[in-house]
Amino acid sequence: MNAKRADKLATGILYFVAGLVVLILVALLGYILVQGVPEISWHFLTSPALAFEAGGGIGIQLFNSFYLLFLALLISLPISLGAGIYLNEYAPQNTLTGLVRTTIEILSSLPSVVVGLFGYLFFVVQFKLGFSILSGAFALTVFNLPILTRSIEEALANIDDNQREAGYALGLSRWETVTKIVVPAALPSIITGVVLSAGRIFGEAAALIYTAGQSAPALNFSDWNPFNISSPLSPMRPAETLAVHIWKINSEGIMPDAKAVSAGASAVLIIAVLLFNFLARWLGKRLYKHLTAE
């Protein structure tokens, strides 16, 4: 076979493989959306789930998902930011930091169900937090920390060293240079990383089944005192999320319209995750534009 034909053949195969990937993705998304979107209504998005009769919604699960996401980011973002800054800007390149990096990589490939069971033993049982939003948020933090730390570290590593030199040459300290020059310059990719990890957290189920629990008690949306157990903000109440709800309906749902609820909930979940991805791209591009040109 001559080089030209080999090249043509290889190009053809690559097109086919890439096309296959796109096709599978489109088919999957299309199926979920076609099945689920007709089920979505304002009533479906806002009313509580019904265990035995038809017509239940996903309102509380949806709220729980966002609240858990918020708390998980609130805990993991500062830690990841600190760790990322330390690893990229301060840590000496020796075996110890190499070990830390390897550990982070291993942690990030931990199956989420393992994280969930660890969270159950550690937060739920050992620390007596019970099945609660707090346990769930901590489990999600364990799940999220390694990935977010990596992405922040990479965002910082992509900032040219000449930016740091510029800061030092103006008599700025390393801390000033990092916080006022390097981190702002890396902000577009940091935010992209945060939003992408938000999408992952939002769709996570296995890590939450044994930590945030599988029940969604009725909430009193007129009570915003986080210390009352029926308040939506209470971190000590059990909180089934959207992803857990989908898993639960499909494994043990006994409501007559279980299939429809599951389809609708899946569509909402997919749409939310897609939105996170688009938001990440849009925000990243916008911020980058803002920084590079008017």
């Binding site: 040219d160 000449n162 930016q163 030199e165 510029a166 030092y168 040459a169 103006l170 008599g171 700025l172 300290s173 000033e176 006022k180 020059i181 702002p184 310059a185 803002h290 920084l291 590079t292 040109a293 008017e294």
Partner: protein
């Protein structure tokens, strides 16, 4: 020429200033720079006169950039610098020196323009604000004066809030010069500031430096011998980590005392 190189490395001709007639802004004594175990600078003792432009020339790897970066201790975390760097009677290479404060007196401009990902105004005002200058009017004045000194005020005065990254390479480099002089250093170190620029921008930068000479002591590393001869008062020739010749620029280019200098400036190597 290779044989010639090994034969003549002992030949050196280093000018020393008469302290009564010349004011020394900066000098190095017994300076040695190591990267790990390999010695990058073994003999590099020079004196720099105040309000003059001194050029450091030499082939790639001769140590001229390493030398320059040692002067305001930009090499601190990369290399080991032994010896003294004397500035106003102080050895600024000692551990007791506040490096950050020292760098406000000895500023630096780099080879590749490196403006911050901030507005043109903020590029200049930022470092001042970090040191507690918050008076808007004062900041405005300094920004304007620095940009004027860098000969770019008229081009950017209406775009001060635009991102500095949208400027052309030559403008970015002049912004970097403006940024460096805004904090009013005594000495300005420039590491091949025009090597990434086109000839027009290069000549503008050279004009700017000749202007700045009235208020600043300038030390510039350059690959471009025409540039050294056009703008500098003194020239030092580096080779293999040693200064081989240091003299008035006119002498270096017309009547070098060291054979290797002659070879280099006539384009026989490097």
């Amino acid at each position: 020429m290779a044989d010639n190189t090994s034969m003549t490395t002992d030949q050196r001709n280093i000018m020393k200033f008469d302290p009564k007639a010349h004011e020394i802004a900066l000098s190095t004594e017994d300076l040695h720079v190591f990267y790990g175990k390999s010695e990058a600078i073994s003999e590099g003792d020079l004196q720099f006169e105040r309000y003059k432009i001194s050029a450091l020339i030499g082939p790639s790897g001769s140590g001229k950039s390493t030398y320059l970066r040692s002067l305001n201790r930009m090499n601190d975390r990369i290399a080991t610098v032994n010896g003294k760097i004397m500035y106003r009677g102080l050895d600024i290479n000692s551990n007791d020196i506040d490096v950050y404060e020292m760098r406000r007196h000895i500023g630096m401009v780099f080879q590749r323009p490196n403006p911050f990902a901030k507005s043109i105004y903020e590029n200049i005002a930022f470092a001042l604000r970090q040191r507690g200058m918050n008076n808007k009017q004062e900041l405005d004045e300094i920004v304007e004066r620095s940009l004027r000194q860098a000969a770019m005020w008229d081009q950017v005065k209406d775009d001060l809030n635009k991102s500095a990254l949208a400027l052309s390479g030559g403008q970015q480099q002049r912004l970097c010069i403006a940024r460096a002089i805004a904090i009013k250093p005594d000495i300005l170190l420039l590491d091949e500031p025009a090597s990434a620029l086109d000839p027009v921008s290069t000549s503008q930068i050279e004009d700017t430096l000749l202007e700045l000479k009235q208020n600043y002591t300038i030390i510039i590393v350059t690959h471009n011998m025409q540039q050294a001869s056009r703008i500098s008062d003194y020239t030092a020739f580096f080779n293999l980590g040693k200064v081989l010749e240091y003299a008035e620029t006119g002498d270096i280019f017309t009547n070098p005392k060291v054979d290797l200098t002659n070879d280099y400036i006539s384009g026989n190597f490097g």
